[in-house]
């Protein structure tokens, strides 16, 4: 029986240490917010995941904000800004009497410290540095003025500065903690203070009572505004709705469409779909690998795809159909792409026949010079992409195209498969409000040019659109870029992303910033349980 005694001791031991974790102050105005991925790190300057923004949008302010409805740039920590004639110097007037959660005063030196941290190669920033584009230097003019100096004009800079990844952190805290430790002790100027981060378990933030410099789009605080928020992780998509219903979470994102449909009929919950700007769910077509090196084949693949059926069945009709390389809610979206490749089996067959494909061996699959028409599709396991590819497989078979599906379990494997270059199609996409997300993906020299496409005209347009500060000219350049991408059939767009959020009706006034992923929790109110 000694065996059991030792086990028992072990149990006591684990039970004791289990209780040693800090217990948070209890407030009836506490909100439980469900996160869906596990995050690998939540330092806004270092890490790149979207989940960190859901939390940190509440902890930090950025120099500028984008208005949730108009999407215009509005003052944040900077009250005003000017851009020099040549587009190389951005001058920001900073808000005064702003203090960080640790009491440090916010000023131009604080901004400088943050820029320094993001630009420092030691930081090895995954996203923030990219958002700053060709920023090479900064200049503290006085306590409340700072110049940002670029090596070439870059109009997406303001958009970059409005994102949580370029959030302004307390220089004192940045100095106090090492690069890797700071994420557990984050200090911002935002409406909520960072309390604790227990990896894989929870992140807790608490209302900052001193917050008085909120952007204009926030409403005055209600009496029952939320005081404390605990973010929890719910990785298994199948049980997310159950977590919401059972009370494990008050808000949950990335619900399965079927569950969202069901919750929408439940009077105790409200479904809040948030449209996500940027790239839609799409498949890049590899122009360097036969048979997708042939324009006719690429076009036929799009014509042969019945997107309506897919969106209805897989996404329960919650998403708009995508027609081009940008989601319809993205600024500078070109509506001219709509219906260009509407579902048309005859057109697909004509194109393939024109390219010389025929079913010479009568096996139902077209062939050319003895080689069957076969496309290899890299299929990630997330986002219901497997369901989509199975529909694609069936739909394409009806015009004589065979799809070979290569499932990849994780992101690392996906990158590895892409690197091999033996794919015809791969599903991947990036989000963002500025169409500059297109540049790295469609420039000949782009770091993630997975279509292998190279075209001087498209290069010029994309580069010009990033340099140009005039919005109308940008609209034209990006509009033409989108048209070329679709003329060349570089992608198969499927659906615009819609993040399916739902919340219990204990809470109200949940809204999202214009990026779609990040909630604005300042005004959220909560009815305490009896």
């Amino acid at each position: 029986m000694r065996f059991f005694r030792v086990l028992w001791l072990l149990g006591i031991l684990s039970a004791c240490t289990g209780n040693a974790l800090p217990v948070s102050e209890t407030t009836p105005y506490k909100l439980f917010y469900g996160l869906t991925l596990s995050v690998s790190g939540i330092d806004p300057h270092i890490n790149q995941n979207a989940e960190l923004g859901i939390v940190l949008r509440q902890v930090y302010d950025t120099l500028v904000y984008r208005h949730p409805e108009t999407r215009e740039f509005v003052p944040g920590l900077a009250t005003s800004w000017t851009i020099s004639e040549d587009g190389l110097i951005y001058t920001f007037k900073l808000r005064e009497n702003v203090t960080f959660h640790d009491g440090t005063l916010f000023n131009a030196d604080a901004v400088a410290a943050n820029l320094e941290r993001i630009m420092n190669p030691e930081t090895a920033s995954q996203r923030a540095r990219l958002l700053l584009g060709p920023l090479t230097a900064y200049q503290v003019v006085d306590n409340a003025t700072i110049n940002l100096i670029l090596s070439e004009p870059y109009s997406p800079l303001l958009d970059g500065l409005s994102q949580v990844y370029t959030a302004i952190a307390s220089p004192k805290a940045l100095k106090e903690y090492s690069l890797l430790r700071y994420q557990y002790h984050q200090v911002g100027t935002g409406p909520f203070k960072f309390v604790e981060y227990v990896p894989e378990d929870r992140i807790v933030i608490r209302r900052n009572p001193d917050y008085a410099w909120q952007p204009d789009f926030y409403a005055p605080l209600a009496e029952n505004a939320v005081q404390e928020i605990e973010f929890r992780f719910f990785r298994d998509p199948a049980t997310r709705a159950a977590a919401l219903e059972s009370g494990d979470a008050d808000v949950m994102g990335e619900l399965l469409p079927l569950d969202a449909r069901e919750l929408a009929n439940n009077p105790e919950f409200t479904v809040v779909p948030a449209a996500i700007p940027g790239q839609p769910l799409q498949f890049y077509m590899n122009t360097a690998q036969p048979p997708t090196n042939n324009l006719a084949v690429r076009q036929a693949l799009i014509y042969a795809t019945n997107r309506n059926a897919i969106v209805d069945a897989v996404y329960q009709g919650f998403s708009p159909i995508a027609w081009g390389p940008l989601a319809a809610v993205t600024p500078f979206y070109n509506p001219g792409v709509v219906d260009v490749y509407a579902y048309n089996l005859d057109q697909a067959q004509t194109l393939l026949a024109g390219a010389g494909y025929e079913d010479s061996d009568n096996d139902g699959i077209l062939d050319l010079n003895g080689a069957p028409l076969e496309v290899t599709v890299i299929q990630p396991a997330w986002g219901l992409v497997p369901e989509v590819t199975q529909f694609l497989q069936d739909q394409w078979r009806s015009v004589g195209i065979r799809a070979v599906i290569e499932p990849v379990p994780g992101f690392t494997s996906l990158l590895e498969e892409v690197e091999k270059g033996e794919y015809n199609m791969v599903s991947f996409d990036a989000f963002g409000l500025d169409p500059v997300v297109l540049n790295a993906r469609y420039l000949s020299s782009g770091t993630v040019n997975w279509t292998g496409f190279s075209n001087p005209e498209l290069d010029n347009l994309l580069l010009e659109a990033a340099r140009q500060s005039d919005n109308e000219l940008r609209r034209v350049a990006y509009g033409q870029s989108q048209a070329i991408i679709m003329q060349q059939a570089l992608i198969l767009p499927i659906r615009d992303y819609v993040n399916l959020n739902a919340h219990s009706n204990r809470i109200s006034d949940l809204r999202f910033d214009p990026y779609g992923w990040f909630p604005l929790l300042y005004n959220v109110t909560i009815t305490p349980d009896d």
């Binding site: 199948a238 399965l256 079927l258 069945a313 590819t389 199975q390 529909f391 599906i405 379990p409």
Partner: protein
């Protein structure tokens, strides 16, 4: 009990292999306008999230599932029993070395081991069999080693050894008959684990490619629509349970004979 189990197993196997004669729907054919239909005379077990006929899938999937799982379990058992025997009868040094490797392998949960093997070998059915089977060898070997040791210290074995019986003779005459029931019992458990693990792999996006009918894959896919359409996961879940339950009963009763 034993008769009923055998009967059920034979029925299942017969129906599964007669599937092409019995069913009216292509198990792979999606149908976007008929998704998640409840069981009806047309679709006896309903349709899944992609509008495929669950009955067709469960029958066709049975062939693949039973073959792959049996091969994987067999691979795991043969290698595991082999190692267990060698560890049991070999010199202390070699035994220690082998035990070291076994313990090292045990430090990977089977699912992770299968994931690593499959990532290394690339996606294929052969790789799946090997990955799922190999993931079980270490624990099989552990159990067998313990069984072998218990037998080796029995008086009659000690006597046989004293009389100069060769290692092969002892294995053949004493150890194998002695561990037979353990192998059978554990074999069924290993079969179950292999079935679970190949399904769990498809939860992770590995294993059988999506679309190919397979009980494990169906179970994994069915979880996503569990609340709205429990029948999708119900059929494969029940079949997995019934098959393993019958096998268990069979093994129990064989033991007692």
């Amino acid at each position: 009990m034993i008769r009923i189990s055998i009967l059920i197993l034979i029925c299942i196997i017969l129906i599964i292999w007669a599937a092409p004669l019995l069913i009216r729907f292509d198990p792979m054919q999606t149908d976007a306008s008929n998704t998640l239909l409840a069981p009806s005379p047309k679709h006896l077990l309903g349709t899944d999230y992609l509008g495929r006929d669950v009955l067709s899938r469960v029958l066709y999937g049975g062939q693949r599932t039973l073959i792959i799982t049996s091969l994987a379990a067999l691979a795991g058992l043969i290698i595991g029993v082999g190692i267990g025997l060698i560890v049991g009868i070999s010199s202390p040094l070699i035994a220690a070395l082998l035990m070291g490797v076994l313990n090292a392998l045990l430090a990977f949960p089977p699912l992770v081991l299968a994931l690593v093997t499959l990532t290394l070998l690339g996606q294929s059915d052969a790789a799946l069999v090997l990955a799922v089977g190999l993931a079980q060898t270490a624990s099989v070997a552990q159990v067998m080693r313990a069984g072998v040791q218990t037998i080796l210290i029995q008086d009659y074995v000690l006597a046989a050894r004293a009389q100069g019986a060769t290692a092969w003779r002892i294995i053949y005459a004493h150890i194998l008959p002695g561990i037979q029931s353990t192998v059978l019992v554990y074999g069924v458990i290993v079969f179950g684990y292999c079935l679970f693990n190949s399904a769990a792999l498809s939860l992770l996006g590995l294993g059988s490619a999506p679309g190919i009918p397979d009980w494990g894959v169906m179970l994994a896919e069915g979880r996503n629509s569990f609340r709205a359409a429990p029948w999708v996961a119900f059929a494969p879940g029940m079949l997995i349970t019934i098959v393993i339950l019958c096998l268990n009963t069979l093994v129990d009763n064989l033991n007692q004979c």
